[in-house]
Amino acid sequence: MWDEATLNMLVQGVVETLYMTIASTAFGYIIGMPIGILLVTSAKDGIRPCAWLFKTLDVIVNITRSIPFLILLVAVMPFTKTIVGTSIGSTATIVPLTLSAAPFIARLVESSIKEVDKGIIEAAQSMGASNFKIIYKVMLPEAKPSLIVGSAIASTTILGYSAMAGFVAGGGLGTIAINYGFYRYEKELMFVTVALLVIIVQVMQAIGMKAAGISDKRK
């Protein structure tokens, strides 16, 4: 089974998986980060309380987070098709992955920023900082180590989801595992793909923790 074709397939699987994970994480942050920030600032004890905005975002995030990924994956297929032009393959999978990652990321960002000491924000206010400057000069830099840890969690979770998309020909290692292990009972190949997934998760998590440690000046 270890012919060149199989190896090439595995390499392509790894590349596709990384592509999906990185792209979905990036898009997930583009959507989820602003939502996370707004969740903090519009909260009752935030720098600009706004009850209706907070409630709306809170409910949207909770609803989207409670939809199982596989259901979402199938449900948004028509939408995926209009955006990407197809509903199979790794590029198509990025759409549901992003949609499911964004609310999760919003919560991660929210909890990271909430860790920032209220006193530091009050000090910035006392120095005449605008809310916008408080966000990007105080909250985000102060929450940086925690945000980096959050991104490691987010990307590994998204990686797991991307493998699930294998069931609907989503591409990447997940598809290989399902095609060979599930449909053809080629257990060895399935184990190899799973091992590869484990290694990728380990590496991403280690990089995330290391980066967070380096950026954290509190110790």
Binding site: G119, I120, E122, A123, G128, A129, K133, V138, P141, K144
Partner: protein, 337 residues
Amino acid sequence: MSEAIIEINSLCKTFVTKDRQVNALNNINLTINKGDIFGIIGMSGAGKSTLVRCINMLEKPTEGTVFFDGTDLTKLSAKKLREVRRSMSMIFQQFNLMMQRTAEQNICFPMELEGVDKKAAKEKAKELLKMVGLEDRAKAYPSQLSGGQKQRVAIARALATNPKVLLCDEATSALDPKTTTSILKLLKDINKRLGITIIIITHQMSVIEEICNRVAIIADSQIAECGRVEDIFYKPQTAAAQKLVYPEGKLTDKLIGKRCMRIVFDGNSSFEPVIANMVLECKAPVNIMYADTKNIDGKAFGQMVVQLPQDENLAKKMFSYVKAKGLSVEEVTGYVG
């Protein structure tokens, strides 16, 4: 007298919680003059922190006005208020430095907000660090600094925008006595050298005695007493003031009903052995119940509570002896410690 820099008129602040209203501040009137080191003292929960936050509008007063340098802050737009806040800095009990920035970067922060050129900001930060005695710690992160050093960095940061007023919210409460003294000395130096008006919120009378020239005593959400530190120290009028000025502790209970007098020392006299001379002159011993003298504003300052002999005439003689020495003296009756 000098002109007013902050004028607070009939200020009220009410917090509304789910089931009740809390009157944190009730009809506060205060005038703080340019160059003052103004103390605001009170017990925990008296409303002092709320009051200082009403001065720079971190808390919006429910009623009343706050004039700063002639402008009514309660009527300013958010944008204008941000500008004003740059000339009214604040330091905190917990220092509130940004943990992910070095000391120098922390000091540069308010200048970044102002749009000061990076190089000029760095130059100024260096100067300020030197002023607070931390020129060698520019690259240190707050986690690498001691409490006193953190507060010095916070003071340097507060001075970066050349403020007219410095608000200190329990700035020394998290520090040990020795560090407290050094920070107070620094504040006094800043007041003298830069002419910055300083407002100090504290619950420690010792802080007020050490550097303030005027003081307001706040109790039960109101100003109980306000005036020169010496006056309030000599003759506290209200129960709230007496509670803070008179020696604390169990001692005071024992004093009630006994023949005790409280002597307040000013400038010259504390260097003269008044009590010893009095004892020699009257040929009768007294019991020193309490004594506390220190150097305030360059003058020796302090108080002493002595128990006089049972003999009424002797006691009277002692009383008039001390009075003749030009000391402020009063019979201590049933005050509550």
